[in-house]
Symmetry: C2
Subunit: 298 residues, 2 copies
């Protein structure tokens, strides 16, 4: 945890959207010794009740303006599709100098939206805590969800350094490790290691379903396609808000697979062996580094 | 286990190649009550010694002709690249009616090779026990490796029914479940659910390595690319001996990904959602069936 960071400088933190991530922010704040009020904002009374029961928040409200009033920090944890109306509604109710961030998986679109809608007096930067699970709902929230996970903070050039620094302190106080990078760079890199793999897993499942092939699929296929069991609506949003980086990543994949196809066609065993070797070396090195650091994206 | 199948009708079983799979055949035979002699054939004295020490075989020899002499069953467990010389060397030493099979992951090439080289008096059909591990070496052999795993037996049209039946009985006596299908069909289906996924995982790793992207990769990426840490030499052989089915599978993947790219380009959220939904439905259904049956490919 950064020096000079003290979460108890704030009296009130507003968590907008109390699902797995929002609930985990609440539980982690409590575990980190936050003694102020955690306010849960949601649309449905039932999910707010469940959040209270899970002890993820101290108070709840269905009114976004009421929910953010007096808050020193607002964390947006809803699906991206809800961001625009929520930002518009909260804009007038935010006190100057309020910290605002979000936990969405794509950053360019979200950061542009927030800067367009929020008053200049507010201290905003995007966040992407790389933690989560296939599960959804506050019941699966965990106080240690961010522990040793990587949290990306994505200021833009005109974001004050102090805002990004404070948000790093925030995520680090919840147990995470932080890394700062610009929104477009975030989206480019995540397209390659997260969004493209998701699309590829989806393609593999849909191809195998067209024949009896899937009945012969083994544990390798199960591991490889696990992410294809993720929430289709959430992934439609991710793809939709990261279109240009995704198109670039898909194009690179098409080139890579075409090159492999040509090597097969020429029966170029040497080139295929080298290609497989390079991947094994990269992955084995990455895995051992990942475990030796004991810090990793979730 | 099939009725009328009795492994102890044989006095001597020859296991050619005593690595993870060959060693597991030996251990599983012992567990199944085989009271005859398990002969291990290998090139290196050191691996034969390790196989003896692991109790995977009873006797060893570095001579293939000596190793198969008097055997009622020969199981080829070496890399595919060794098959041609081994089949040529053993051809003259096999007694009439000896059962011969193999455990290779591609079947068309191997089955053609065996039928061309082995005498007509021998009872051959290909096998593909879908069990194994990223690990190699007799030290990782297990008596229960084939337990509840799926073993594919791939006779051709002129293979006597009794040969395929006997080989099914053999794998079932080791705890496996069996399925019979023609070699070309095997290769087509495995291309989709095993060989193409391997190529795709390799492509993902190699793409991510070209930037800093891999440092942001999470557990989804780790699961998805696990198979890219497999043995490059073995996978070069698999691709090389299943070229036409692989080219077809890669072409289908290229079409599927191009279609997705076009949907991204048109911002067709509805089509993307349906595509993701279809994959989730297929995979969730497959996973629940897989676990309810409690029988699966390894």
């Amino acid at each position: 945890v950064r020096k000079n960071f003290n979460i108890n400088e704030l009296d009130r933190i507003s968590i907008v959207g109390v699902g797995l991530l929002g609930g985990s922010v609440g539980l982690a704040l409590q575990a980190a010794g936050f003694s102020g009020t955690r306010v849960g904002v949601g649309r449905r009374a039932s999910s707010l009740d469940r959040a209270l029961k899970a002890d993820a928040v101290d108070e709840t409200t269905r009114s976004i303006t009421e929910g953010v009033t007096g808050a020193g920090l607002v964390v947006l944890c809803t699906p991206i599709g809800r961001f625009k109306p929520l930002l518009e509604q909260m804009a007038g109710a935010l006190a100057p100098d309020t910290y605002v961030t979000d936990v969405a998986s794509t950053k360019g679109y979200v950061v542009r939206l927030a800067h367009r809608i929020l008053p200049k007096t507010v201290r905003f930067a995007g966040s992407h805590p790389m933690a989560g699970s296939e599960k959804t709902g506050v019941e699966f929230s965990r106080a240690d969800l961010f522990e040793r996970s990587l949290c990306l903070v994505t200021p833009i050039s005109r974001t004050p350094k102090s805002t990004a620094r404070w948000l790093r302190g925030f995520w680090e106080s919840l147990g995470g490790h932080t890394l700062v990078l610009p929104p477009h760079r975030h989206d480019e890199l995540l397209a390659r290691v997260s969004h493209l793999p998701h699309a590829v897993a989806t393609a593999l499942v849909n191809l195998s379903a067209r024949s009896a092939a899937i009945d012969l699929a083994g544990s390798g296929f199960a591991d490889m396609t696990r992410i294809a069991s993720g929430d289709p609506a959430m992934w439609t949003e991710i793809f939709g808000t990261n279109r240009s980086a995704m198109i670039k990543a898909v194009d690179q994949m098409l080139v890579e697979l075409k090159r492999f196809r040509d090597r097969l066609d020429r029966d170029d065993e040497r080139a295929i062996l080298n290609w497989l070797d390079a991947a094994k070396t990269t992955r084995d090195g990455w895995i051992s580094k990942r475990y030796s650091k004991r810090v990793w994206p979730g």
